[in-house]
Amino acid sequence: MSAIATTATIMRYAFRAGLADYRSMYTWKSWLAGWFVRVLAQVSFFALIGERISSDERATFYLLVGNALAVAAVTGVFSLNATSSERWAGTLPLLVASPSSPVIVFGSRGSYAALDGTVSAVSALFVAGPLFGMDLPWPRVLLVVPLTALVAYSCYCFGTFLAGVVFRFRNINSFVVLTSYMTIMAVCGVNVPLTYYPEALEWISRFMPLTNGLLAIRGVFEGDAASAILGDAALEAAVAIGWMTAALLSFNQFASRGRRDGSLDYGA
């Protein structure tokens, strides 16, 4: 079997393992009654803040769109929990000992998160939007679906990079997940325009996932030119590639260090 075919097989099995993990957490009923209720509550929470701070409905819609897309970001970043799952299952040292690279497994195993993030964010937008009186311009609004998928994938790439970091410092897993997600919410244009913060922070946020994709999606709703939307989408894709490259370069280093100092233990 060629190297590419072997890699594809590993990725397929890893994806199926991730999907099985996800199915053990959620059935479609618990997804709808649990997770999706949380997503709608999160988007509504910020949309209501928008209604409270201004009588101009654009403030509400700004927060609604930003926080719906932030859901795609959180789900993507959640993909790094795959590392901890392997640890709890006692399979982490076995994965590192296997001849394939752990990044192939972790990169594929958490990829269901990008899919889940896309479905969650788009559903939130299409349910909460009309509830708050937001116009969804047809058929232009359909562009939001692939752009949301791009954002979710970009955040998933970022999550895979963080999985490498957590691989080495596993006792800070939840800490990394939540602080990353909150930082994205704070600086990536989710709640206030990028221009609100100092220029240096605006520049940094351009290298974070979500920022550029969110600008593209806001552009769709505001009727921006196709070239502007495509430009932002291209930047988001570049950020995604950048984070995945960083993950590929750093992941094996972190794993090797763990192998050298014997810190790839089982359990907590």
């Binding site: 053990s24 509550a41 509504s44 929470f45 803040i49 409270r52 602080t179 609100y196």
Partner: protein, 255 residues
């Protein structure tokens, strides 16, 4: 009392050993930045006190759901529950001690939020009713401890508490009006919100940092305490039932 003090010390040591326990102390400043940025960017400087109070309440909900609420489940996973139940000290007093430590951690977020507002945004909380503010914070922490005990007892019965805790945060923030008052929500939600102690705490906290006198202060504070006591009682009864069932079925040590 020995059990209570042992619980206090044990949880303090566990928090020191687990950096994840300090998550609310990191998320509270970030929520403060987000909320203050929203209100200031829109020119609503009058809402800055509300933006400062909301992260404190969110931090308390977080410790109740994610930390204190998971205490028994984690003890069970680590096969500690058998030893704790077999010990002569009451499990409830030990738990109460541990939950108290966690609540103190949650209340540290108040100081953080205050500092973040002052350092990064030059916004300071005006302590218009300092005594009332302290009483509200103490009673809210007490009621949150009650809710934590109820969560801890209920979660140990479920197969996958993670699904619930991961989903319950924002619905609770919304229903308890941590930032947007419950009065703004649709009328059919009001009875549900009234049964949540945090909705009373949120309204009181917002009122305590405004110059106007606080309407019906003692009655509303009494509701916070009453709802906290009800949570304690529910938690205590569920705990008795769960432990009895585990003893009978031999599941005390199984995850």
């Amino acid at each position: 009392m020995h059990g209570y003090l042992a619980g206090l010390k044990l949880e303090a040591r566990l928090i020191r050993a687990q950096p994840d326990s300090l998550i609310p102390l990191v998320t509270a400043p970030l929520f403060t930045i987000i909320f203050l940025a929203i209100v200031r960017e829109s020119g609503r400087y009058d809402l800055q006190p509300d933006a400062l109070m909301a992260p404190v309440l969110i931090a308390l909900w977080w410790v109740a759901l994610q930390h204190a609420g998971q205490i028994i489940t984690h003890d069970r996973w680590q096969a500690l529950l058998e030893s704790i139940v077999a010990a002569p000290t009451s499990l409830a007093s030990l738990l109460f001690g541990r939950v108290t430590t966690v609540m103190c951690l949650g209340l540290v977020s108040f100081l953080e939020v205050w500092a973040i507002g002052a350092v990064f945004f030059d916004v300071s909380l005006r302590f218009e009713h300092p005594l009332e503010l302290v009483l509200i914070l103490v009673c809210t922490a007490f009621a949150t401890a009650g809710a934590s005990l109820a969560f801890a007892a209920l979660f140990v019965m479920t197969r996958n508490a993670y699904t619930f805790t991961n989903s319950a945060g924002f619905p609770l923030y919304l229903l308890s009006g941590v930032f947007v008052p419950v009065a703004v929500l649709p009328g059919w939600i009001h009875p549900v919100s009234s049964a949540i102690f945090m909705s009373w705490s949120a309204d009181l906290l917002r009122a305590s940092v405004r110059p106007a006198p606080i309407d019906q202060f003692w009655g509303r504070l009494g509701m916070v305490v009453l709802l906290g006591v009800i949570s304690f009682v529910i938690g205590r009864f569920v705990l008795i039932y769960v432990l009895r069932r585990m003893r009978m079925t031999g599941e005390l040590a199984t995850a």
